[in-house]
Symmetry: C2
Subunit: 677 residues, 2 copies
């Protein structure tokens, strides 16, 4: 490196270095570890290595950058621009040479196939370092003097041009190498699969005549209720299509444990459920391929996540062991396989990667969500909760991460609730109760106005109001508490029956009438109890993890999954479902599991990151912790018998804490103000 070397800064990575004048930009990027895609290996034919120059005086970096600090467009680049249409300002970094100081912009969305529609699942830009790498090579023709086989000369070419040593090849290609090489007139593109740096030898898994300028992967979250799949370009990183479907295993059992029971009671149960989920996946693959306008053959890599039972059933493993202590996983580590081994025919060389499971009830989906939200990458103590029949709970930061699951049961999904139902048109999803009149108003899925707004009745005539969904039940119980209809112990106050016709006596307990019509929708004492049990289980699990971490509050909360997307964090906190936290630090993280799968698809570095993280996560088995029961009992109260919610109190006035029988105190006033609508 001399003073004559040019200073080059790559954006957005911010990596910089000095390089000799005349060096192609691509080579400089490689030396710095800046990811710039290239399929053709610097022959100016694939167009994947496009960059642009940011012109100007970047005083902070001491760089004056100008377009003419790159070599002029040469004949090869010119030909590419004419044939394939190079956008204004874009240069091929394999051809453009460094002549002076530069700020180089590496676009994250180099569109080569114009028909590709941008449809990113969450707009997140994932740095690419896929496990599958497309490598164009020109292979020596056969020569009687050097009788190396076709495959052997192909390997030599790849080793020379792309530095993959000691290559192996998928067996299905052995009988095809001959004809592909000849069809491509000794110019071919090999798909090289190399996941772990210190793992198996790099392998040729697909081979195409000529330049093959695209390869795709799928990332998929197999949820017990829904399955979501994204199709992404392994070269540009962009999501080309997304699709979802309900998990057809539902016909064998609504929740996880009923599916395990089905396996235990039916000789073909495991096989039936494995086939069902694989069939659904094949349907989704067809759909994303049709949407993306590509062939299944072009999918070369796939990442799947799911909870442990979905994970096992997808792989064809009997999940019975997960149905009882010690909840033994058949396999917890990451799994590598070929898509053909799990009945998903794509390319014969297509690989599948499954993220590791954290524990018997904390699956690869929780691992993927952890990868996405990255508690292990941050200083703040983050709580990550995925609420389902079992809540998967991860709590930690850069220093330490702990995880557990808690048996919340299906109440949050509307099951075990008298008027509960799935989140579908006709379900009450939002509820407010006037603390004076005790009259409710609510909002129904599929109906725009609230129940007390004009137009509601007309709409409700079309879409019948049929029940309460998960987020609705959270809100109505929380509002009943805030309105004084239920006590902090969760008892529906029968004395209110005198004040409002909404409080009904049913046997020895009381209910709250939400809709007096067909059907009649009430919240019964049993409903309240079911929610209390569920939220107490979740909260007790969280508290155990907080104990392990030695903390009394968390810095931020991520609520994963569909349920997390729809519940109002404030009401969740009023119920004491989650611990106190500034409300602006509580966010729904959507399908964090699906995003984590996509990260692992596009960058094998994330695979290593989550494997290492999972191996370090401390797993807490709630059933074995003596304090769980104590936390659970305290958490039966609303919001909690002992824990305070100072952050929540800043936005909503909680009913004054009633004296417990122990402290002999007297119940305080029931009136409360809400600071927040």
């Amino acid at each position: 490196m001399t003073d004559k070397d040019a200073l080059v800064l790559f954006m957005p990575s911010g990596k910089r270095g000095r390089f000799p004048v005349g060096m192609p930009v691509l080579e400089a990027a490689r030396q710095l570890g800046v990811y710039v895609e290239s399929v053709c290996g610097g022959r100016a034919t694939c167009g994947r290595c496009q960059v642009s120059v940011q012109e100007g005086n970047f005083a902070k970096h001491k760089i004056v950058s100008a377009n003419d600090h790159l070599s002029p467009i040469g004949p090869k680049e010119q030909r590419y621009a004419e044939v394939r249409d190079l956008p204004d300002g874009r240069r091929l970094s394999c051809s453009a040479q460094i002549l002076g100081d530069l700020v180089i912009d590496v676009p994250q969305d180099t569109v080569i196939n114009a028909q590709v529609v941008r449809k990113d699942s969450d707009g997140r830009v994932i740095e690419r370092n896929a496990a599958v790498h497309m490598c164009y090579v020109e292979v020596e023709e056969p020569d009687m003097h050097k009788p190396l086989g076709d495959l052997d000369r192909l390997k030599t070419a790849i080793t020379n041009d792309w530095k993959y040593e000691n290559l192996d090849v998928d067996f299905h290609l052995i009988s095809q190498v001959q004809s592909i090489l000849r069809k491509g007139e000794w110019k071919v593109t090999a798909a090289i699969y190399k996941d772990e740096e210190n793992g198996d030898r790099p392998r040729i898994i697909a081979l195409y005549p000529g330049l093959k300028n695209e390869a795709y992967g799928i990332a998929c979250d197999i949820g017990s209720t829904t399955i979501a799949m994204h199709l992404s370009s392994l070269l540009s990183g962009r999501t080309v299509a997304s699709a979802g479907t309900s998990n057809p295993q539902i016909r064998f059992g609504e929740d996880l444990m009923s599916r395990v029971s089905y396996v235990m009671m039916n000789p073909d149960g495991r096989e039936g459920m494995t086939n069902a989920v694989r069939e659904a996946l094949n349907g989704l693959i067809d759909k994303v391929c049709a949407d993306g306008g590509i062939s299944r053959q072009d999918i070369l890599d796939a990442v799947f996540v799911g909870n442990p039972i979905m994970h096992h059933l997808f792989l064809g493993i009997d999940p019975t062991e997960l149905g009882g202590a010690p909840f033994a996983l058949a396999v917890s580590g990451a799994v590598h396989l070929k898509s053909s081994e799990v009945g998903l025919p794509m390319n014969a060389g297509t690989r599948v990667y499954m993220l590791p499971c954290i524990a018997g009830h904390v699956g690869a989906d929780a691992a993927a969500a952890t990868l996405t939200e990255g508690p292990h990458r941050q200083d703040e103590m983050m709580l990550l909760v995925d609420i389902g029949t079992n809540a998967e709970i991860v709590l930690g930061n850069r220093r330490r991460v702990v995880a557990a699951s808690s048996p919340t049961g299906p109440a949050f999904e509307g099951a075990e609730i008298s008027s509960g139902q799935r989140a579908a048109p006709g379900a009450i999803e939002r509820v407010r109760i006037d603390p004076v009149t005790l009259e409710p108003r609510y909002r129904v899925i599929g109906i725009e106005p609230w129940s007390d707004e004009p137009g509601f009745a007309e709409a409700a005539a079309d879409i019948r109001v049929t029940g309460i969904c998960g987020s609705g039940i959270i809100e109505v119980v929380a509002e009943m508490f805030l309105a004084g209809i239920i006590s902090e112990d969760g008892v529906v106050d029968g004395t209110l029956a005198a004040r409002s016709p909404r409080t009904l006596q049913t046997g020895r307990t009381f209910s709250y009438l939400l809709q007096d019509g067909e059907p009649r929708i009430t919240v019964t004492q049993n409903d309240v109890r079911a929610i209390q049990l569920a939220k107490a289980a979740l909260y007790a699990g969280v508290k155990l993890l907080m104990d392990k971490q030695g903390i009394d509050h968390v810095d931020r909360i991520g609520l994963a999954g569909a349920f997390g997307t729809f519940i109002d964090p404030m009401y969740a906190m009023v119920l004491g479902l989650i611990p106190d936290c500034p409300l602006d630090k509580v966010k729904a993280v959507g399908n964090a599991a699906g995003t984590g799968a996509r990260m692992a698809l596009l960058n094998r570095g994330y695979r290593r990151e989550i494997e290492e993280t999972v191996s370090k996560i401390e797993k807490i088995e709630t059933a074995l912790e003596s304090k769980f029961q104590e936390h659970f009992v305290f958490a039966m109260a609303l919001p909690n018998k002992v824990d305070t919610f100072p952050e929540l109190a800043k936005v909503v006035t909680l009913p004054e804490r009633k004296a417990t029988s122990d402290d002999g105190g007297e119940g305080g006033g029931r009136r409360r103000r809400r600071n927040r609508e």
Copy 2:
């Protein structure tokens, strides 16, 4: 190491070292790299690690060795001896501790399963270092506090006990690990596959509940005419069963080139031939399993060799390219695959290894023969010839090895010969001609006496004498030459018709009458020409290689294959089929290819050895060498126009060299004496 350490010498390896008193013998062997099998990992249950003590004063080694220099038999060893019957004098090296200086004998034939019959293919003892290693482990039971999966705990146990790091597992085992671990009550035996030291990660390819004390492999030479298979124990190294069959591809074409033509002319030709050979292999597998009393499931590794066309057809590769210049192999390097990928269902984890091919017409069979005979391991210059439709020729020593093939055509196999036939009952295989009377006597396959001995006529009435096989045609032409019936130019001397009724005129040329009966068996001028052309091609190829090596004689000659087993080296030399060499240095090496396959099966070190050797072998394409034609013309003469045979002349008096028309000389006398019957 202190003076108190004991000196231990292992035989037959001769490796020695000092070890602390108290160390188990097995551990000492491991530290020295002495191969002692062990499946149970030192638990005194598998019995594989048996050794014995050689007692006495070994002055040369300064060792006084005695049985009581081993610790007394302890309870575990005692239990093994009672339950499994430990032979007298044998000790389990995992339990026996070193107490003093010792000479330890490692038996090469530790028989554990008594029903196994010794039936070694060639008695050769092959040091074992198989690619498949049986590892017994005791796995931790599942624990809610440490929720590692079953497979993950299994891997941990193997890593701890057997030092295999970063283990992978075959996908088919993932769904079985659970039940196998429970069936074995957390004690299992894993078959670990690790071929190349720097190759892929070690893999679990099979898993058995409890102690699995045996594993088998097959070694197979796929010849164009016959297929030979050996079943060997991967643990003891012994050959348990052998079987052979004719190659059913014969129905598509007798010789290699007619099979290639069949592929070129029939759309399903390649598939038909691939299926045919795989079917035959499956039949052989059934046969060796039945003979060995084992299940196909117990075969975990397999090695196949064959000439390039057999190699390609077995793998499902179109061999058409091998039918014409530049004779391009689809793959020349060694190939790893699973047996299920080539339609040979055994264990789901069974691996297949194919040796590398040397060149377009010098196959994996020649590589295997090279491995067996080891020209690259010796100082002497060795010629290794496998005679078939194409002769595969390897010539070299420790410093340099060269190889070529020569298009001998099918004459040596009895084709293109008027009375030629396969080596089968009724075929003349040995011939002597009285130089005075010109009367022949001969020996026929299936008939014990010679034709001039008592009992021949009776036997010949049962087994009709129907033709001449390859070795017979070599002998009769050589004897005709020695008797003066044909000249050194190969012309049948018509002037002898006056002297003997055995010389017949047929048109413009003459024949020699071998059997005047039904059928009439003659050697025609065309027959002699066919043999001349074939042997000239072979010899010219050999000479080219000798030119490359810069030598005028070879030190030893190995004749591989069935043909090499049956021809008499002296007659081959009289014909000038092979170069001059002391006759005791010419030997039939039998199925050297099959033996090489068995070596590669039992010791992965031999795989690396032959891969490296093949990569270094210089390949000579005879068609491209200008001197080939010249060598060929000289080699048309008997034994050769220009080359002398001084070693041959020591045992047989060759006819005096006739002056050629060039030198204007006159034909010398034709009488000659034979020094050898």
